[in-house]
């Protein structure tokens, strides 16, 4: 914690020195920030398109709650987090996210009626909070502290393993979104148009995309905590600025702006500006909330009812 000056050339030359170690951890942290930012933006964009709702996000699906519950079980049940902390944590979070997503698909049925999915997602969130409350009551102070810190969002757990996992999953997510960009464009016009132009199974594609987004968000949440707020801000701002919902144009821009936003937030959070160490989520909210309110108010007041 705190500020330290390092010699970059020395760090590169002698990787095992103190300077080298700090440089390595900083590089990993910056790379993870970039990947997390891009991924949050893209997954948010995808979920909003799928649910035809500009405010939909991982929270709406209950995926975040699933991941949180996984992490809660990991930290709050004594003895679970004994060894291999980061590996165990990711595993539990992804498992939690996927379990909730699976429940969602099973309960909401084959048709995946979107209103119904949103309601079920919300109910799952409540259930997860209830279980977490009970766990918090029963847990010791160390467990509670770890869990609460995780909930604030932080890049301190980022390491080479999480970087590689994130890179693999992000590539998968980006490839799938690129492949489905045109399909999602037509999807935004409604099911009739989609049936006329593609004649393919809408339900299958929806489920596939939901699972991809679920894995993606589960992994991000496990590494940095629930910071999916980026996923709401970035796509809304971009669509407003470029005046289009075309995913082919939005994909690279969303990745870029998301990466920039999280990198900047992490820079501020770890004290590079001002010397304070803050939770990433707090910084992101301070940056993001005014922007999103401005754009939403402007957009919604512009539309005819």
């Amino acid at each position: 914690m705190g500020t330290v000056t390092i010699d970059i050339t020395k760090g590169f030359k002698e990787f095992n020195s103190v300077d080298g170690n700090i440089l390595e951890s900083r590089l990993i942290r910056a790379s993870v920030s970039v990947l997390v930012g891009a991924s949050c933006g893209l997954a948010g964009l995808g979920i909003q398109t799928l649910f035809k709702n500009p405010l939909a996000g991982p929270t709406t699906l209950g995926v975040n709650s699933g991941a949180s519950l996984g992490v809660g079980i990991f930290y709050l049940i004594p003895g679970v987090s004994m060894q291999m902390e980061w590996l165990g944590l990711s595993f539990f979070a992804v498992l939690g996210a996927l379990a909730f997503l699976f429940l969602l698909i099973v309960v909401a049925g084959k048709s995946l009626n979107l209103t119904f999915v949103l309601i079920v997602g919300l109910l799952l969130s409540y259930a997860s909070y209830a279980i977490l409350e009970v766990l918090l009551q029963l847990s010791d102070s160390v467990g509670i502290k770890s869990y609460v810190f995780w909930g604030m969002g932080s890049f301190t757990r980022a390491n080479v393993h999480s970087l590689i996992a994130l890179l693999l999953v992000s590539v998968m997510g980006i490839v799938v979104m690129k492949k489905y960009a045109t399909w999602l464009n037509i999807y935004s016009l409604g099911d009739t148009e989609l049936k006329l132009l593609t004649r393919k199974s809408i339900t299958f594609n929806k489920q596939l995309l939901l699972i991809v987004f679920g894995i993606w968000i589960g992994l991000i949440t496990s590494i940095v905590g629930p910071i999916a707020f980026v996923g709401v801000v970035v796509p809304n701002v971009l669509k407003m600025v470029i005046k289009s919902s075309n995913l082919n144009t939005l994909l690279p821009l969303t990745a870029l702006l998301g990466a920039m936003m999280v990198l900047l937030a992490d820079l501020i959070a770890r004290g590079a500006i001002g010397g304070f160490v803050l939770p990433v989520n707090a910084v992101l909210s301070v940056l993001g909330v005014p922007i999103i309110i401005y754009f939403l108010v402007k957009r919604i007041s512009g539309a005819r009812s």
């Binding site: 500009p54 464009n185 016009l189 289009s244 005819r304």
Partner: protein
Amino acid sequence: MLEASSIHIGYQKPLLSETISGSWNKGEVIVLLGDNGVGKSTFLKTLAKLQKPISGSVELTTDKIGWVDASISKGVYLSVFDFISFGISSTKEDIDYWFKRFEINIETSRFVDELSDGQFRKLCIIRQLLKRPEVLFLDEPTVYLDVKSKKQLALIIQELKESCLIFCTTHDLLFAEEIKTSTIKF
């Protein structure tokens, strides 16, 4: 190019007691008349293969289908250009041509939900025409249109039928008189 063999239309149970059969080709404009809820739209959906008939079969020899009804989504951030370009390769000449024909003068960067209902309805029709359809289904296309635009639409249908089979439901009897080559009463 479109053939229906004794189809029973409906969802769980049939909407009509009798079956419908027929064979239609380019050059025809079939107007469907009848009260609300008798199954006009369901019949169109079945013909367009958007919905399966309870029994019987539909043969459709083209997949270039245009469909106008009130179901298309306006989205929150859909621009006019998004709306007329998603999934179809429309040229600027085509877009300009139809905008002129329907006398709409709007920037293509505007958001669709800022348009009036009439303008939006015209845009829906334009989107389907940009697909260069071989079969065109119009489910109450004149709703929200002013008198002048209705006349214009009737004229366009007359021109279009040379290369296109057209089905149209409407409650506007004057409009029906102007465009029809035959009628199905429900």
